[in-house]
């Protein structure tokens, strides 16, 4: 054999190899290139075939990645729901999101404040501690005025604001007409008219009328004044009772009726 190719080797390195080195390298190549014994060959081939069988068998890994992905998505979904519900319960969500979350969770029996209720600082009043509304034009529950910790007939104002008695729901510094509440800032409603959507003109003296109470029939659920009609239709009687005790829309009428003495 002629290992290595001396001419190409010499040209590659730019050296002229001596004769002893040439023959010595050829001897090394010949001696090293001896094939192994047949018993060794058989052992090597058996090992190779075993390795080939191991690698040729299809290895199906079922959904390691997809399972992990599902777990991550599940954890993220649960975290999102809990976070959303918590924020909604605290009333810290924007009004549309708050309403949407309240609507969705109401289906599964979780009662969350809606956007209008969550903006009311008094909406945390416990409804069960208050007696039901009594019939009357102003929806004043007997003894309710004494149980209230709010300023008489005045709510929704900024701290330190001195409002006109019987005026509520206005923006800080806003002066509404006496007995007018629930309107949008700057909205002027008719005296004694409440629960009016912006631009809505209600019938005077027709606020938060519970069933059986005096007043013209409205689509507003009992005590659910200050809400849009669509929202009010979904309110259950219990919620209505709850909301009616906290809704600022009922307060002007109370104040107007003189059941609660005005502050100051």
């Amino acid at each position: 054999m002629s290992y290595p190719n001396h001419e190409s080797l010499e040209s590659e390195v730019g050296l002229d190899l001596s004769a002893p080195l040439r023959s010595g390298l050829a001897d090394v190549a010949d001696a090293a290139r001896q094939p192994p014994e047949e018993t060794v060959v058989a052992a090597h081939l058996a090992a190779m075939l075993a390795a080939a069988n191991e690698t040729s068998e299809p290895v199906v890994v079922v959904g390691h990645r997809s399972r992990r992905r599902g777990l991550v998505v599940g954890i993220a979904a649960v975290t999102g729901i809990v976070l959303l519900a918590g924020l909604s319960g605290a009333g810290a969500l924007p009004a549309p999101v708050q309403d949407a979350v309240a609507d969705v969770l109401e289906v599964v029996g979780i009662d969350l404040p809606s956007s209008d209720a969550s903006t009311d600082p008094d909406s945390t009043t416990t409804p069960a501690s208050l007696p039901p509304l009594s019939p009357g034009p102003a929806n004043i529950a007997p003894g309710e005025a004494g149980a209230s910790t709010r300023a008489p007939g005045n709510s929704g104002g900024a701290p330190g604001q001195v409002g006109v008695p019987g005026n509520s729901g206005g923006a800080p510094g806003q002066v509404g007409a006496p007995g007018n509440s629930g309107g949008a800032p700057g909205q002027v409603g008719a005296p004694g008219n409440s629960a009016a959507a912006p631009g809505q003109v209600g019938k005077p003296g027709n606020s938060a009328a519970a069933p059986g109470q005096e007043g013209a029939p409205t689509t507003v659920a009992p005590g659910a004044s200050g809400r849009a009609p669509v929202r009010a239709e979904k309110v259950s009687p219990n919620q209505a009772a709850k909301t009616s005790t906290t809704s600022s829309a009922a307060r002007p009428a109370r104040a107007a009726a003189g059941a609660v003495p005005p502050r100051g």
Binding site: G24, D27, V28, A31, A52
Partner: protein
């Protein structure tokens, strides 16, 4: 060399065909085993077995011609050799330390032809000269002389630039030339 049948043989071997696997093995084992034996691999047939088992584990991912296949296979052999020396806790520089001395020749296990041939070469001085090379010089020289790889292929195997491989090969041959001339002088002097 397998030649024009190589792509088909490679594909069959990747599918586990025994005939194709044996064809690849018999065609390449002389250079693989020769390189490992010349490097002084411990338990050379075990290392050869490791090399071919590793080859079978990744042969389905190999793409290239027969020339590239040999280079790829010797890359595996080079790495398995490093692993084998690491297991023994010794450096490749010590590869030729056994059996080199005049009094140590008799303790070498000379049960096969290869051992006998290499032992003769060691005692004749060629292998002693190679033993005096650095690890990189010896690897480059043996890949060129025993495995008959090109400079570019050797660069791929040892992970060095072609210019570095060429420089290593040049220095290795120069050192061998000097050592052979000295050995020749010593042998002549030592002749009775």
């Amino acid at each position: 060399m397998i030649g024009g049948r190589f792509p088909g043989v490679l594909a069959d071997a990747a599918r586990g065909d025994a005939v194709a696997i044996e064809a690849l093995y018999r065609d390449t084992v002389p250079i693989v085993r020769g390189y490992l034996a010349a490097q002084g691999a411990p338990e050379v047939d075990d290392v050869v077995s490791d090399v071919y088992v590793s080859m079978m584990g990744s042969i389905h991912r190999f793409e290239g011609d027969e020339h590239s296949f040999r280079s790829w296979l010797l890359t595996i052999a080079h790495r398995r050799l490093t692993d084998a020396f690491r297991k023994l806790g010794r450096r490749k520089e010590d590869a030729w330390s056994f059996g080199v001395g005049p009094g140590e020749v008799d303790v070498i296990d000379i049960t096969d032809i290869e051992s006998v041939a290499l032992t003769r070469l060691r005692t004749s001085g060629v292998m002693r000269a190679i033993d005096g090379l650095t690890e990189d010089q010896r690897a480059v020289l043996l890949l060129r002389v025993v495995a008959d790889l090109t400079i570019r292929d050797i660069a791929d195997v040892v992970g060095k630039p072609e210019t570095a491989v060429k420089a290593l090969l040049r220095r290795a041959l120069a050192s061998l030339d000097r050592a052979m001339s000295i050995e020749g002088g010593d042998d002549e002097l030592s002749e009775p």
